[in-house]
Symmetry: C2
Amino acid sequence: MQLHNFNSGPAILPAQVLEQAAAAIHNFNSTGLSILEIGHRTSWFVEVVEEAKATVKKLMDIGDEYEVLFLQGGATMQFMQVPMNLLDENGMAAICDNGVWGNKAVKEAKIFGPVTVVADTSDKKHTYLNKQLVLPEGTSYLHITTNNTVEGTQWHQYPQVNVPLIGDMSSDIFCRPTNYKQFDLIYAGAQKNMGAAGVTLVVIKKSLLGKVKRQIPAILDYQKHIDAGSLLNTPPVFSIYVSLLTLRWIEKEGGLIEMEKRNKAKAELLYNTIDSLPAFYCPIAKEDRSIMNAVFFLTDPSKEESFLALCKNKGMIGVKGYRTVGGVRVSMYNALPISSVQAFCELMENFS
Amino acid sequence: MQLHNFNSGPAILPAQVLEQAAAAIHNFNSTGLSILEIGHRTSWFVEVVEEAKATVKKLMDIGDEYEVLFLQGGATMQFMQVPMNLLDENGMAAICDNGVWGNKAVKEAKIFGPVTVVADTSDKKHTYLNKQLVLPEGTSYLHITTNNTVEGTQWHQYPQVNVPLIGDMSSDIFCRPTNYKQFDLIYAGAQKNMGAAGVTLVVIKKSLLGKVKRQIPAILDYQKHIDAGSLLNTPPVFSIYVSLLTLRWIEKEGGLIEMEKRNKAKAELLYNTIDSLPAFYCPIAKEDRSIMNAVFFLTDPSKEESFLALCKNKGMIGVKGYRTVGGVRVSMYNALPISSVQAFCELMENFS
């Protein structure tokens, strides 16, 4: 049976990336050693890191005012690392709480300084984005979750603000060309569009740092990672390599323009099918629907279980909605072929 | 040319582990999916974590008063995470500073509370271990680096103290049977004896926690990781799997008794060869020599460069001493076959 991998993350990766990753475990770049056995300070691995950094900068079209880091701990680590480096008692973090992840960012930031929630969308179960943001005076930075993996919303135009903008792009990084320069700090767990779990991309405008007085432990200090060229300590070597392979694949396939073309085609097909079938409905405001994660429901909730069972039987992996939301969630990251979405839409039509 | 991998970490892994890891990238456990593409909350992966935890407990011969966690960030993260969870202004961390890593542990702990260095061995360039420890009154815990990767010393009998004992075992975990129960917290980056870079083992006695009042960010809170069964957020899936494969390999080969037999044979051969050849000398006190990392020098320092060049030509990987120490360092982790040490000793004999 052919499998269709709609996992929300860790998620589907390009077949070519998997092949190259497996080959490197046997013999990395004809060194005779496995990628799992090489030192992280060898020229072999330093080249991997440098190429990965350069490719990120190229895809984002950003210059040397930014630094690219490959860290650990995922977005959950960034929820605390961002305020630890950027927020103190004299400042104010403005955070958009548009769902599970934004909410966690709020909680962690409060440990380090004052926080204002500028766009709580819980009144409508986070089925839309509140774009009327009023920032309190003295705001140090605005934090948004660019794509809400759990709720199925996505910012299609980022807020224009005159304070530093910080984006958790874990689930939509590199899904389309966008103005990355609008951001002062971007972070993303790799395990959706950028590789395997175990590494977190952080892109940071260097001028943002050095404004907070607290003593920061070395491993959590962005400046120390910058000074060490992202090799402060042993990095997650293999995960960084898989990210490089994925970045190379994005470039080779046609870059972000091509990714957007594919992602829009997949999303359009899926949302059109949902909207055309009375058995299903998507409660997300049309203008805010995510092209990465479609969240929708069965009109008759008593049929949800049998629909999910059918999906499982037909090799549709990972389509059960998040535990606090329920329903169906179809994740369509860069590596998912449109044929998988077609197969899923056929299944929906036959079920109706 | 046959390569001999004496890397200090990331380091050599068993050939069988590499084969199984590569196979799982193609098809994990006959699921039809890659290990890089499966969700971390699937029963497939939960089984991996549970088996890895159980194997750690079995190898360490510890009971349910301990919890096993697979975290990220390496020992450098633990240098700050340990004091953040266990030390406050009312306490006192006693730390043995026997080299580069212990020194970093001291620096990070000072951010969180008072620290006493109880065994600074810098007077003799860390070529021995000071075992006469006098703990100040009110000591909250004693922290030791059980094996000093850079300097080549190793604790062969752990200090007997009446405060909680914490061990950074990054470079000698599972190298031999030992009384793991003597410790209240053990941590180790996986990339030496336990797998690939990207995951950190933390074994913690649960009764140790909850005594510090500070607010701890979720990702750094041991208790929250325990409550979440080591799945607080997306873990480094592949690195944990490689650790499981390595733990299985240790068990299958005969467990820690067999590891010690092999490691002692390798270390004995190497140190005997060094001691017997006038061209080389090892300054480390005999009783404190590490069976994992042998650090030694050429009697005539002007010959060091040509010796290291010869090593390189003969496929001896990673034998240059740490940058602050110089000389030669030969790392002999569990997966290194004695044939590699034999080849290295022959090369030394021919060079003399």
